[in-house]
Symmetry: C2
DNA sequence: GAAAAAATCACTACATATAGTGATTGCCCA
DNA sequence: TGGGCAATCACTATATGTAGTGATTTTTTC
């Protein structure tokens, strides 16, 4: 018997929200879904926490520090091409079949390797390096800033890209913004 | 006689808002200031438009398409080191003297070369290239995608960096997000 | 105390980006 | 009708990043 998935959908677009709720209840059970137009609405409604949060990237950026439990899975809904592979993305402009398949993969990967996520977490030093990368520093600058050799920076950098599967600076910048590492997040 | 500057301050932090209002009225006149805790509040209060909008980067990202007039000057308040030089930034952790000086420069550059801004706008082709850069494409990829020579891409790229004064990919990514060019903005 | 993980550093070869300079073509518009 | 600008392309030299492989030392964890 599978555990009931508790899902919160935070979307300003009522139609999208209804559609996603319908898809999830039809194809994935047991699920328990609550829909909100914003995180503020969710907070004022109750203090429940959920296993999954489906929301938009820009909403996520604003609320990651305030409303989301640390251990929750957040699924970001992307309406254009998913350029930045930051983890759990869902292309809402795809066909219904694709979306369902996407969701299946999401829930399946969860079941199969629940500990895989830990191996993808960056170490303390790797986080330092990532912050520097996002700030536009060169590897040599980073080496000076952290008082380590250039080779060590390269080594950390290789670990970051292999752990996250993100090779481009723009992708890493997006990842950093999403995870509260960028200087733009106050 | 100087034209009265119409300024809107959109900040959730009431203290910051009050402080900024006080600074602006004390040191820069004639000014006319309205403070709001969010863009929604501003919209429900009235339909006025302003010459300047002072707000936070993440608030700006969310509202740029909906609330801000095209021609408005938007000043982003940065609380840490201003890493991304996207134009009109203000470090709110700086000393009061620094902030005032910053504001003076902002208004002064406005007076001295009101047409300078046009020269800083990216051309159509440059915008295409910027979008590709943010998507993490290499120059060669961009050349293929846009059906132009590698040298042309380099040329556009040099124009972009000189126009914007932003040399790093992370800075350009931030700029693109801020200006609605990034794939993450829905 | 042994195993695992993190942090450190090195070397090679290759790929890609940046800086600087210069040129041609076509278009708009005052 | 000529000046300004956008878009296109070329060449050189230098700087920087990436991939692949391997190693040592310290710290953490069971």
């Amino acid at each position: 018997m599978q555990k009931t998935k508790r899902i919160a959908i935070i979307l300003p677009d009522a139609l999208q929200s209804a559609g996603l709720q319908s898809l999830l209840t039809d194809y994935f059970h047991p699920v328990e879904i609550a829909g909100f137009s914003s995180f503020e609405c969710m907070a004022s409604a109750n203090n429940d926490s959920y296993d999954y949060y489906f929301t938009l990237p820009e909403i996520f950026v604003l609320n990651v520090d305030f409303f989301l439990p640390r251990k929750a899975k957040t699924v970001l809904l992307i309406s254009r091409d998913t350029v930045f592979a930051t983890g759990n993305n869902l292309n809402i402009l795809a066909t219904q079949e694709d979306i369902i398949q996407n969701l299946q993969q999401l829930f399946a990967s969860e079941r199969n390797n629940p500990t895989e996520e830990k191996s993808k977490e960056l170490s303390s030093r790797e986080t330092d390096v990532l912050k520097c990368i996002v700030q536009g520093l060169t590897n040599k600058d980073i080496a000076d800033a952290l008082n380590i050799s250039l080779n060590t920076v390269l080594s950390h950098r290789k670990n970051i890209t292999s752990k996250l599967g993100i090779k481009t600076v723009s992708g890493l910048t997006f990842y950093a913004i999403m995870n509260g590492l960028a200087p733009s997040s106050l």
